[in-house]
């Protein structure tokens, strides 16, 4: 008994840095922001209890609704397009093609580039007058829009850029593809399946846990997007690219409205949890675990 108690204490001692970290940097801030979200607080003076006023204010705040719409659009696009693109690239790179190792490295490389550098590079690519994209479009006689300056094109441009950094998702899909038993493909061949049917009935179910993982990560990262729109558009034009995290930050540190920012942050957290939960529930029907 004393031995097990000693082991327990030793175990707790070893995990104590993590426990302290979670308590100090996760649970305590969560509790404090929950309280602050019901107050008016600027950091500079004492909080004043305002009940649910901060939550009610969101209903009539046009920028809040723009941020919700933009973040939702970005997250959904990143989820769907990112998943499709990463699976397709992973499948393509598993084919016996010459130089696929090099291509795989090139696909992964953007994930290693700092977000600020990448964003500034893409700003030049998107530049309406001198950008490479418009230079090519102009050469072939297509319209050359102001990608980042026009509210219609600004958010799609950011989504397009986000697809450039799917390298880590491709790696995860590649690992899953290599784990698919060859016997299943042989059986499919014997059953006379074509390439598409094999992909639909063998490959996709077998890599569905990896796709689910990527999807959940895409939802979380998509809903938290911050740096790219901040650097590339600062939320403009006309708030066409203002996203939720950016609006939380502005309220907290630019407008001195920590209470409203905390309420926004809680809405963001709950929305992220809810959407992740929905994704996991849907996944029960579609995700195939070997041996399950």
């Amino acid at each position: 008994m004393r031995e097990s108690r000693r082991n327990l204490l030793a175990g707790l001692l070893w995990v104590s840095p993590w426990l302290v970290g979670v308590a100090a940097f996760l649970l305590a801030p969560l509790a404090i922001t929950a309280y602050v979200s019901f107050t008016d607080y600027s950091l500079l003076e004492e909080p004043v209890w305002v009940g649910a006023a901060n939550y009610r204010e969101m209903a009539g705040d046009p920028v809040f609704w723009k941020a919700v719409r933009n973040t939702g659009l970005y997250a959904l696009s990143f989820l769907v397009l990112g998943t499709v693109v990463s699976v397709l690239i992973a499948v393509l790179l598993e084919q016996p093609l010459r130089g696929r190792g090099l291509v795989r490295a090139i696909v992964f490389l953007p994930t290693l580039i700092p977000v600020v550098s990448a964003s500034i590079g893409w700003m030049w690519l998107f530049n309406a007058q001198h950008g490479l994209l418009n230079a090519v479009l102009g050469r072939v006689g297509l319209p050359t829009p102001d990608w980042l300056g026009n509210p219609t094109f600004a958010m799609p441009s950011l989504i397009l850029m986000s697809l450039w950094v799917v390298g880590s998702y491709v790696v995860i899909c590649t690992a899953a593809l290599r784990d698919v038993p060859a016997a299943l493909y042989e059986a499919a061949d014997l059953d006379g399946m074509g390439a598409l049917a094999r992909f639909r009935h063998v490959t996709l179910p077998m890599i569905s846990p990896a796709i689910l993982f990527n999807a959940v990560m895409s939802i979380i990262w998509g809903l938290q997007v911050f740096a790219v729109p901040l650097i590339m558009t600062k939320g403009g034009p006309n708030n066409a690219t203002v996203v939720f995290s950016m609006y939380v930050y502005s309220n907290a540190f630019a407008y001195g409205r920590m209470g409203y920012a905390s309420a926004l942050a809680w809405v963001q957290l709950l929305a992220t949890l809810a959407l992740t939960g929905v994704a996991l529930m849907i996944a029960r029907r579609f995700v195939h675990y070997r041996g399950a």
């Binding site: 102001d146 980042l148 026009n150």
Partner: protein, 548 residues
Amino acid sequence: MVRRAFFVDGIECFNTLSLPSPVRFCVLCGSSPSSGYPAGVPGRVTSRRAVLAGMAALGAAAVLWPYTPKSRRRVPRGGRGRVELTYWEKWTGLEGLALQRLVDRFNASQERVWVHLIPVGDIDAKAMVAIGGGDPPDLVGLYTYNVPGYAEARAVMPLDEFVSRGGLQREGREGERRLEAGTESERGVGGGGSGGRGEGDGVADAEYAPGVRELLWHEGRQWAGVNTCYTLGLYYNRAMLREVGADAPTTVAELDAIADELTTQDAQGRITRAGFLQNLPGWWPYLWPAMFGGALFDAGRNAATVDSPACVEAFEWIAATARRRHGVAATRAFAAAFGRSMHSAQDPFISGRLAMIVQGPWLANFIAALNPALEFGVVPLPVSGALRASGRVDDANPVGLLEADVLMIPRGCPHPEEAYEFLRFHQQQREQEQLALDHFKPSPFAAPSPEFLARHGHPGIRVHNAIVGSRNAMVLPRTRVWKQYSDLTTAAFDAVWGGADVKQTLAGLNERAQQLIDSAEERRRQRQSGRRGESNEMKTSRWHGGLA
């Protein structure tokens, strides 16, 4: 306890922790494979763990060792024992060096206080966190839009607080009384209060210009010292205007006519040279109503007024530029091309691709460095015909935006008295004007010294100074919600530029801005009524664990 944990089941720690062999001594527990359990006399060979621990300790020390930038001035050997102040300022580069020279002059002027100037990025957010966290610097350089919020929260010290400590000059009280006596009606376009006349003003040894005074005072008290000011004027390319036989415009109609003549577009409709565009540089989308006699805020009623007829007229003019005169897509694309090249060799005005631009005095500095051959001039902002005809605007009272940087003493700072001593030095006309000379800016005082005007390298400095002293100088709304109001105005500008209905857009903006103003006022009343005899400083102190 720890030592015993390494000897679970009596296994020697080397085996348990897979330490390499041959090793004769573990520095943590002192055991040795050759000497048996428990550890006996330590051997002479140090374990790999000890080496790794030592390296980790060295690495941690290197990372955590206080870093002192080479540029940071050290207290001289003979000056040990001085009170050392920390001063956070946003400026770097040439502007930062100019301020460092001022600090050096102060440090050399006496032997009791030493000021450390520290450049800080994103300074308003960091100042807010530092003051709220109870660990502020002694002095902090912020923006004028911070003054109302910081003053109402008592997050900075009102400079008259030093009266009781014998620090404030007589002129400070005089200046304060004068401000209370001043009326907002004394100011013209843009609204605001006004100061009186006298030899000294607040903590300064000379009288601030009325607009500058308005930026430093809030609710009858001075909360900040000025840290250079600037005004915005219309810069024009003389050669281009000669090309069309025009003089610098004084009215909006003249501005439009010259701009139309100078704007050229290629076969695809792309602008290759622009006369004038309000979205370049697009940094002050709230400026334009001043050219039509409009204001964004009525301090007397504590009301947003961005939907007033004059503001609507200004935004209709903006809409017309984009939609009717040059095209939305073409103007957006032209401006976007210079998104990150302002104040570089590719700057639209400096590179000769834009004939006229609203800018601050610093532009002359960049022109001198990047294109000294450029012939340019500067005039006050052109105004609408109706405003010109009203007689409110004349040569002595031109229209332009007046803004300033400010220096404040955070409440709860370690050395407020010494900080105030530095602030007084910093507010001397001689020092402020030297800083303004170095920054290429106008003087913040009502009567610039003759030496200042004679020595100034900016060819248009008299225009900028005239705007500083003008009753029509526009200052930003003195409300704590201005930052958010300003961001909403930027979005409204974008919307109008893109084709949104002007009246509807401004009505929506006004409604939201008023909600923010009313909400802030309501919270303020709530705080005041909740005090019940307890000072706000005391309550703030309690919440922040001893801030004040």
